[in-house]
């Protein structure tokens, strides 16, 4: 375990050095992200100029939700997104061989190759927005609350990782899995809406089968105190993410067993 952490630290350092050689671009990406955020806040503002609450969420609670969604998806993108989208290409071209010969776990090797520093900056922007929303709400979370929030964010990232990794792993069976992988981005985005607006089969599927609705809603509820039972949601998220991660692991090994490399 310690060895893996050391390897990971080295990989992160390399990425940081690489990114810092394109400083102007780095700044511009932050501008894009801030604009995007302003647009979303404008949207929330438009919504709440017509209503008082959305389900059991108030305006600033929804802002905190959007901020949390941002934090989770940016952490996920910083560490895993690019790496996971590349898996189908690695399998198709047979370049996966290189990763299999490394003396580390293969799933770890393909998941940790690159790391986006700009996404971490965007994570900070998300945190700042969430903090601002909290101050508007007049909520000051306890240390325990913050820890639980952090833990739920971690679980949320795990869910995203598991779904995306499973979709990428499909490429061992289907050559063109790329479309599916990018399609997940569409799913991603429904996670920033308050869970209480969703109804029926849609809600069931995206809570229990592909739990994108839980990902940001649970931590945001924990933080802002929407609804009475923060632990219930957290427990649900913990169980689902553990299950999904286990499934992904199993699925990866099944896929790998089918891998026969490309002819060289």
């Amino acid at each position: 375990m310690l060895r893996y952490l050391k390897i990971y630290a080295l990989l992160l350092r390399n990425s940081l050095i690489r990114e810092m050689s394109f400083k102007a671009n780095f700044l511009l990406w932050t501008v894009v992200e801030v604009l995007w955020f302003l647009g979303q806040v404008l949207f929330i503002d438009v919504l709440f100029s017509h209503i008082e609450t959305l389900g059991d969420w108030t305006k600033w609670q929804v802002v905190a939700l959007v901020g949390t969604h941002q934090v989770i998806s940016q952490i996920f993108q910083a560490f895993f997104y690019v790496n996971l989208t590349q898996i189908p290409e690695l399998v198709r071209t047979g370049k996966l061989d290189v990763y299999l010969t490394l003396p580390v776990d293969s799933q770890f090797a393909v998941s940790s190759k690159q790391f986006g520093v700009d996404n971490l900056v965007n994570t900070l922007i998300g945190l700042a927005i969430t903090g601002f929303a909290l101050s508007k709400l007049g909520v000051s979370p306890s240390l325990g609350g913050l820890l639980l929030y952090g833990f739920c964010v971690f679980l949320g990232v795990t869910v995203h990782y598991s779904v995306m990794c499973s979709l990428s792993t499909l490429c061992f069976w289907i050559i063109r899995a790329q479309g599916l992988v990018y399609g997940y981005f569409n799913l991603f985005n429904i996670g920033r809406y308050p869970d209480s607006v969703f109804k029926g089969a849609f809600r069931w599927v995206f809570t229990w089968v592909i739990p994108v609705i839980l990902v940001a809603n649970v931590p945001a509820r924990v933080l802002t105190g929407v609804g009475a039972h923060p632990f219930e949601g957290a427990a649900q998220l913990a169980v689902t993410s553990a299950l999904m991660f286990g499934l992904t692991r199993w699925f990866w090994q099944r896929g790998l067993a089918r891998y026969s490399s490309a002819s060289s």
Partner: protein, 266 residues
């Protein structure tokens, strides 16, 4: 001369045909955020007092309209491809041919949009059927030609903007951030996320002077028959002005860019 671009259109069709499964998958996946948006607005409309301007079915109709116009008129990868062509020097091969690059690219864009709309037709039809309770055919027969005209104008504005942005690749190496900056403006201000008439009147009248509403909001409003004759006229005049402005900008940047262009290596 026209026949050359007709041929290009044909080549474009063949080229993009390879991506038909991707198109289908993409449009299938795009149903989910559409449903998500509808859920949000349903919750908003159920709050009683809610929106005076839109009831739920008008809102659903609006977002289905957005999807249709988006399929027909929004460039997806054109700016990236043109920029890559310039950056990687492939444009040299086109420069020596006796064709107009703007028209050449427009033919490819038209082919792409045509095929995309055709391939995703089953998905769109499925959505129309699913939402049939909320939709209704336009009352006025004139709405159809006006809608077609507005969509054409929207496609032209969007294509010219994409082309002009890609032209910046003559001067700077990395245009993707600029593309994304403009894209974020377009996304929110053209009416993708919410109908623009929900904004404050001051913001609305300011937006009128930008190209964004004419990319999406205006055609959809025509389809929904929410505009009176005067507003339609004003809209078309503004749309036409923006088509001209963006078209001239695109053309101007091309001529300046080519003058500066140096093919490296090769």
């Amino acid at each position: 001369m026209i026949s050359v671009y007709y041929q290009v259109f044909g080549i474009g069709l063949q080229d993009t045909f390879v991506y038909r499964w991707n198109f289908l998958l993409r449009s299938l996946f795009s149903v989910i955020p559409l449903l998500g948006t509808i859920f949000v607005w349903r919750a908003v409309c159920e709050q009683g007092a809610g929106l005076s301007e839109y009831n739920l079915s008008a809102m659903v109709f609006y977002f289905v309209g957005v999807m249709v116009v988006d399929n027909l008129a929004s460039p997806t990868e054109d700016e990236w491809r043109i920029a890559a062509e310039i950056r990687e020097g492939h444009i040299s091969a086109l420069l020596i041919k006796p064709i107009n690059h703007l028209l050449y690219r427009f033919s490819l864009f038209a082919a792409y949009r045509f095929l995309y709309s055709l391939v995703t037709l089953p998905v769109v039809a499925g959505i129309l059927w699913l939402m049939r309770g909320y939709l209704h055919l336009p009352q006025h027969i004139l709405t159809w030609p006006l809608f077609a005209l507005a969509v054409t104008g929207s496609a032209l504005i969007q294509f010219f903007i994409a082309y002009a942005l890609a032209m910046l690749a003559f001067w700077i190496l990395e245009v993707s951030t600029l593309i994304f900056i403009l894209y974020s403006f377009e996304y929110f201000l053209s009416g993708h996320v919410f109908p623009l008439d929900l904004l404050s009147p001051a913001l609305q009248s300011a937006l009128q002077w930008t190209p964004f509403p004419y990319e999406l909001f205006f055609p959809v409003q025509i389809l929904l028959e929410r505009l009176d004759a005067a507003a339609i006229q004003r809209g078309f005049v503004m749309q036409f002005v923006w088509v001209c402005i963006m078209g001239c900008t695109a053309r101007f940047l091309w001529t300046r860019g080519v003058r500066k262009y140096q093919a490296v290596g090769g």
